[in-house]
């Protein structure tokens, strides 16, 4: 037995919320289970009820190419995102981030919503969603609301949901062809590992708008403040890196832990910036 808890398989989000309300913080949503069950096993979490929403059709919805953009239901596993051709083409950083998490087996179960709601400062899905202006749809006993994904992150492993709210979908605006995104992650080994640092970048090659988000560098992943001037493809990468790095260093507050020192994390910011900007400004030269 991995833990002592009850299990409820619900057929509607409403039913799920009702149970969450009733159990007043002692019930948790069981999505992929790859974070929750690990936490239950090692005693970090001890809910008395797990609520399984995976049977709800609406939450399994996956529309990568909708007219309004992409819709990713809460129970869509990460491998679907990593392997989908449309996601790889239109929201490349999202696919790259999904492919970087855990192992193939983990990705067949883990979900995007789960990764976000777990709210780890190192959440690999966060930076890409921040720079892509992703929005979370949240359903609770008081109705439905939406919020930018970055607002889901409140603190270390602390999300903005109340105890009886459920993320039902993540939506992404429809992508124009001039939007380019990339995601990179610093790990200790080439095999599966948590991020020592992760970063996503999004460049609108037409308007020159550039956004960078960095994770595993503060209590939550951070969206860097935007630059005032538009970025052109001819811009000097080194100059851009210097500017953004200065901005980043002033914003991030990395810690030293057994995985990496703050010094190393800070140093890797400019390394990732250089790689990501190189790819965004000169995608044809990418190896």
């Amino acid at each position: 037995m991995i833990g002592e808890f009850e299990y409820a398989h619900v057929s509607s989000v409403e039913q799920g919320c009702t149970l969450l309300t009733k159990h007043n913080g002692n019930a948790k949503i069981l999505a992929g289970g790859t974070d929750l069950l690990v936490n239950i096993r090692n005693g970090k979490d001890s809910p008395t009820l797990l609520v399984d929403l995976k049977g709800i059709e609406e939450l399994a919805e996956f529309q990568p190419n909708g007219k309004e953009g992409a819709l990713i239901g809460a129970s869509v596993p990460l491998n679907v995102l990593a392997e989908d051709r449309v996601i790889r083409r239109n929201y490349r950083a999202l696919a790259e981030a999904a492919a970087s998490i855990g192992t193939y087996q983990i990705r067949n179960r883990a979900t995007l919503a789960g990764n976000l709601c777990n709210a780890s400062p190192a959440a690999d899905m966060a930076p890409a969603l921040f720079v892509l202006d992703a929005v979370a749809t949240v359903v609770g006993p008081h109705g439905t609301r939406t919020l930018p994904v970055q607002d889901l992150f409140v603190g270390v492993k602390e999300n903005a949901l109340s105890l009886d709210e459920v993320v039902t979908a993540i939506t992404l605006p429809s992508q124009k062809p001039q939007i380019r995104t990339r995601f990179l992650k610093i790990q200790r080994i080439r095999g599966h590992d948590l991020a020592l640092l992760n970063m996503a970048g999004c460049l609108d090659a037409a308007s020159g708008k550039l956004r960078i988000a960095i994770g595993s560098c503060a209590k939550t992943p951070l969206l860097l403040p935007s630059l005032n001037e538009p970025v052109s493809e001819d811009a000097s990468i080194d100059a851009l890196v210097e500017k953004l790095n200065a901005l980043a260093q002033g914003t991030i507050q990395p810690i030293s832990d057994l995985r990496a020192s703050a010094e190393y994390r800070r140093a890797m910011v400019s390394v990732l910036l250089k790689k990501i900007l190189g790819a965004l400004l000169h995608p044809k030269e990418e190896k």
Partner: protein
């Protein structure tokens, strides 16, 4: 028993494993998979403190939980166990010596109940400041990890614990005059090196089922490398005759040294006894495997080397300070072996080595693949490179000038013979394979990536008692198939397959008719010391040869009578026996396997059962003052060459190509030998690049799981690898073979360290060589 090169049918061929189908179908049963009627499940309760006095333990609530059948604490178990030094209690008594040490244990109907009961055990501790650095532990003011060290039993004449100290053993090598040798040197280099403790990480954790049977009988099923040692140590500590204890070892999911000696068996047995004789199963969780079960000792090395301007080693002075952790029952022998091997495979006329095995309050060390040699050669092979560079000499040329050759003496006074093997040939082979001397072309597109090449040599002899032995029994069945019984364990290294090949070759039987008995059972599998030290193929091979020849002799005897001739006239070939020149009158083994029956009904002979044994001969204890003696059954030499690429911006290392050469004497099975090397090299790369325990200041193990103790995955393998086998026959080895099981990992960290110097001009002295460590060193060089 020299190598017979001509017309070998099986030895030297890549015969596939017989156990492949069982493992590929999941029918191979490991202790994890076994169940006995009435079996209980056990769980340990572990100390949160690295050092503390146990003030009080209250087990009332635990005992009251329904389904709990036994609860034990250290007070119930006044026993000390250990292989070379008896310093290990079964459960902590009076004091805890490492965070993770079992303090109490429960056997219950279900594992959940056992764990719930553990949570109900109340322990009052008086925490004390732990000693975490072995060098500090050696100072006179340091508190003692073992107050009663002076009273412990240990293998006398071999080990030398220092009473009323934290020194479990001190091994000395004294050859020539080191101070004079250093004085006369043109260049003296002194440097310190460090290896952290590293866990084995077998994929199957430790597991045991023990049952206390009536009349002080014990039956044990254990995932172990050493059934006879388990039996012997249990009997010794519990005062039982050997015949009372029966140990079974089924399939074992990896050991790497961590399953040698004795581990969870005594606790499981005591729980069974306390539970009225019901079988008790105790399986380590992965976290317990990291945090409670022993690992590889850490090592601080201080190496001073004096050389002449022409590049000859004059003198070597070394202090090895082993971080044994809380117990040193096996670790004392690592300290001993490290000393006698601690100069590397070189000619060193003046040598002083002091190897101290020191207690600290951390999870303890035990045998680990390489047995101290990886740790020692990290320092030695790095030191050789450093001093060569300082002399302005090519490290290859430097090594060639100093490697042991026929006629040279080792630092224990052993003379190298033609049958020892050729470290120079190994080095030559790897250097050629990586185009040593030719600089790697720098990357055009990525200037932040630089390349470097490195070489390193290795050596190891089995580190074992001088009287170590092995035995084998072969019996023929009615259909003249043969079963081999032996108590060495095939935990994946493939020795059973090599032994089958040897037996088939000697018995003149088709290999399909020769089988290993897969489960070792001390009731009928004959004695073997332990499957460690890379000695099983050597000693087991020799024992099997003798057993097979014994069978053959019996066959010949009976065939001779049947054919009215003498045994010397009988030829055995392809499962038949015939008088020389009279093949048409051959008798099939099937007609001889259970004796021979004449036409009129008379019978002679009987069931054919051959026995063979091999004992190490000529080995001596090492003089405790000078380290002189003959400890080595055989030496296996080897070398690595590596070409790697470092990303200066991140510190990441890519292994482009790693080449390994070993003088195997005789490659018994090329595919299996290659498998050992590929696997061992990758385990070595793990130690080189990212493996190692991290402790808090309070002595807590911070990375007791795969989350933060990474081992190489399929994505971490080198871009290219090559395995080269030199075959200088070992005169007393089976078909000339020597052991090679541990050797593939021994100098991998040092060859990587050497290549990093070539790439970056930075000398690394501490392991692991993580990206962060490399990056920070590069930065420090850039702006000191």
């Amino acid at each position: 028993m020299s190598a017979k090169e001509e017309n070998l049918s099986y030895v030297g061929k890549s015969i596939p494993r017989e156990d492949g189908a069982a493992k590929a179908t999941g029918t191979a049963r490991f202790v994890h998979d076994l169940s006995l009627p009435g079996m209980l499940h056990a769980a340990p309760m572990k100390s949160p403190y690295a050092r503390a006095r146990i003030v009080r333990i209250n087990t009332d609530a635990a005992r009251a939980l329904p389904g709990v059948r036994a609860v034990l604490t250290g007070d119930d178990l006044n026993f000390l166990l250990g292989l070379y030094m008896q310093d290990k209690p079964i459960l902590a008594r009076g004091v805890v010596r490492y965070q993770g040490e079992p303090v109490a244990a429960v056997a219950a109907d279900t594992l959940e109940t056992a764990r719930a009961a553990c949570a109900l055990i109340e322990v009052e501790y008086e925490p004390q400041t732990p000693i975490l650095d072995p060098r500090e532990a050696m100072t006179p003011e340091a508190p003692l990890v073992h107050e009663d060290l002076h009273a412990y039993h240990y293998m006398e004449g071999v080990f030398a614990p220092k009473p009323h100290s934290n020194i479990a053993h001190h091994q000395k090598i004294r050859v020539g005059n080191v101070d004079q040798g250093l004085e006369e040197s043109d260049l003296v280099m002194k440097e310190s090196f460090y290896n952290p403790p590293v866990p084995h990480v077998p994929m199957e954790t430790h597991a045991v089922i023990a049952q206390a049977l009536p009349n002080d009988q014990i039956e044990i099923h254990t995932s172990s490398q050493s059934p006879y040692t388990v039996r012997n140590l249990l009997c010794h500590s519990f005062g039982l005759p050997h015949a009372n204890v029966r140990v079974h070892v089924p399939y074992v999911g990896g050991g790497f040294g961590g399953k040698a000696g004795i581990h969870l068996e005594p606790l499981a047995y005591c729980l069974s006894k306390a539970a009225g004789g019901r079988p008790v199963k105790l399986v380590a969780t992965r976290e317990e495997e990291f945090n409670t079960l022993p690992s590889r000792q850490g090592l601080h090395s201080e190496i001073t080397i004096g050389v002449s301007s022409e590049g000859r080693i004059n003198a070597l002075k070394v202090v090895y300070t082993w971080d044994a952790g809380a117990y040193a029952d096996y670790g004392v022998n690592v300290g001993r072996a490290a000393a006698y091997a601690g100069a590397g495979p070189y000619r060193v006329p003046n040598c002083r080595i002091d190897s101290y095995v020191v207690y600290t309050n951390k999870v303890f060390g035990t045998a680990f693949r390489g047995f101290g040699h990886l740790e020692v050669l990290w320092g030695i092979e790095r030191a050789i490179d450093i001093v060569a560079h300082r002399l302005g000499m090519d490290p290859y040329a430097f090594r060639m000038k100093n490697l042991l050759k026929e006629g040279d003496r080792t630092i224990t006074g052993e003379t190298i013979t033609a049958g020892h093997g050729r470290p120079d040939k190994c080095l030559e082979a790897v250097a050629a394979a990586i185009d040593w001397g030719e600089e790697s072309p720098p990357s055009q597109e990525e200037p932040q990536k630089v390349r470097g090449k490195g070489i390193a040599v290795l050596h190891k002899a089995p580190a074992m008692p001088t009287f170590t032995s092995c035995s084998a029994i072969i019996k023929l069945n009615e259909d003249a198939s043969a079963d081999i019984a032996i108590s060495g364990v095939d935990m994946g290294q493939g020795t059973y397959t090599a032994l089958r090949q040897i037996a088939a070759e000697e018995l003149k039987l088709p290999i399909e008719k020769v089988h290993m008995t897969w489960e070792c059972d001390t009731a009928f599998s004959p004695y073997d010391w332990q499957t460690v030290a890379s000695r099983f193929a050597f000693m087991g091979g020799n024992a099997v040869i003798e057993a097979a020849r014994d069978c053959l002799q019996q066959i010949k005897q009976v065939a001779a009578t049947a054919l009215k001739t003498s045994p010397e006239q009988i030829v055995c070939l392809a499962g038949q026996a015939f008088r020389m020149g009279e093949k048409e009158r051959a008798i099939l083994y099937e007609k001889l396997a259970l004796g021979y029956t004449f036409e009129n009904g008379n019978a002679i002979g009987g069931p054919v059962i051959g026995h063979g044994r091999y004992i190490a001969t000529g080995l001596t204890h090492l003089d405790l003052a000078t380290g002189q003696g003959l400890p080595a059954l055989f030496w296996t030499y080897g070398a690595h060459g590596v070409e790697l690429e470092v990303d200066k911006e991140t510190g990441n290392v890519e292994i482009l190509k790693i080449v390994t050469a070993l003088d195997a004497g005789k490659v018994l099975n090329p595919k299996l030998c290659k498998g050992q090397v590929v696997g061992g090299v990758l385990q070595g790369l793990g130690s080189a690049l990212f493996e190692g325990f991290i402790f808090s200041e309070e002595g807590q193990l911070l990375n007791p799981s795969f989350t933060d103790h990474k081992i190489p995955t399929m994505k971490d393998i080198p871009h290219a690898s090559e395995q080269i086998f030199i075959e200088t026959p070992q005169p007393d080895g089976p078909y000339g073979a020597r052991g090679i099981a541990e050797h593939p990992m021994i100098s991998v960290p040092s060859v990587v360290g050497n290549a990093l110097y070539d790439a970056l001009g930075i000398d690394f002295t501490k392991l692991p060589l993580t990206a962060e460590r490399i990056y920070l060193a590069i930065e420090k060089e850039r702006k000191p």
